[in-house]
């Protein structure tokens, strides 16, 4: 095995174990902290795919903002009592069966997928000479104009909806 393959093997094993830890911990705070370790691994995997800026926003947004939001909600709800109760619903065996079947068929379908040439213009050399953020910016703000403006509407809905739902009524 070559060095990239060994590194990928480490990431694959570590990320699978971390995902299992995330979904099986009893205490939601532990779950969120394992998720943080998982996100750092995912960001490192993005570096191996030549996506530096995606790795950076993975850390900034997911690890820095969304997980903090989850932690705040866990603190807000104060779930001391619930930590001693049983953690799985009664259909947990069926859900294991469903997810095993799911991964079986997914591997069967896409398990030996390859890229058929010719690939696109953005090779590693082009991205390196221009800079990754520059490349992302040029594509995002020319080809993906409408989705970008729709993203602002989604964020607007998030702001207004969350404030309306969470803020207490002002008489």
């Amino acid at each position: 095995m070559s060095t990239p393959q060994v590194l990928f093997a480490y990431f694959a094993v570590a990320m699978t174990i971390l995902s299992l830890l995330v979904v099986t911990r009893r205490n939601p705070v532990h779950s969120v902290l394992w998720m943080l370790v998982l996100f750092i691994h995912i960001a490192a995997l993005y570096l191996f795919l030549n996506a530096e800026f995606i790795a950076a926003i993975q850390i900034i947004i997911y690890a820095g903002a969304i997980l903090v939001l989850f932690l705040f909600v866990i603190m807000l709800l104060n779930l001391r009592k619930e930590e001693t109760e049983k953690r799985f619903q009664k259909q947990w065996l069926y859900s294991i069966a469903i997810s095993v079947l799911f991964v079986f068929f997914l591997v069967l379908i896409v398990g030996n997928i390859t890229v058929i040439p010719p690939p696109g213009p953005y090779t590693a050399d082009v991205i390196k000479s221009e800079g990754h953020i520059m490349t992302v910016g040029k594509v995002l703000y020319s080809e993906f104009l409408l989705p970008f403006e729709i993203a602002s509407l989604i964020l607007l809905v998030a702001i207004i909806g969350a404030v309306v739902l969470a803020k207490k009524r002002i008489e």
Partner: protein
């Protein structure tokens, strides 16, 4: 910088980030190393009083975890949303010279739509700390 095989251009190792790996290894070594050193060296005489938050203080009453106010959630939520907005600003600022006046206009529209939400939240009083 990428190391490439001669025939397979997809193999990519981010060797620029090797110092970060060294940094992580040192951070883990120092963190766990000092803890391990403490476990090895310190005398072990445990008793209950040592587990109190303040050894000679009052005995603790009630739950250490108290309920947070929902105001913290609203602030954190606004942080998440405007963090996403700031991430969209980064590539725009880097590619600004290539985009021209059109890029400026589309970003102004984006910021304007989020400004509506900002003004709404302000009028609603989500920033007041009472």
């Amino acid at each position: 910088m990428c190391i490439k095989n001669s025939n397979m251009s997809e193999t990519f190792v981010p060797s620029d980030y090797f110092p970060v790996v060294i940094f992580f290894i040192f951070a883990l070594l120092i963190g766990f190393g000092t803890l391990l050193l403490g476990v090895v060296l310190r005398p072990k005489r445990p008793y209950t009083q040592k587990l109190y938050p303040y050894e000679s203080g009052n005995p603790p009453v009630g739950e250490p975890r108290y309920k947070f106010s929902v105001k913290f959630y609203i602030i954190a939520m606004l942080f998440v949303v405007f963090d996403v907005e700031a991430v969209f600003l980064y590539p725009w600022a880097v590619a600004y010279n290539k985009l021209g006046i059109f890029g400026f206009a589309e970003m102004m529209l984006f910021v304007f739509i989020l400004l509506i939400g900002y003004i709404y939240v302000w009028k609603k009083g989500a920033f007041d700390w009472e």
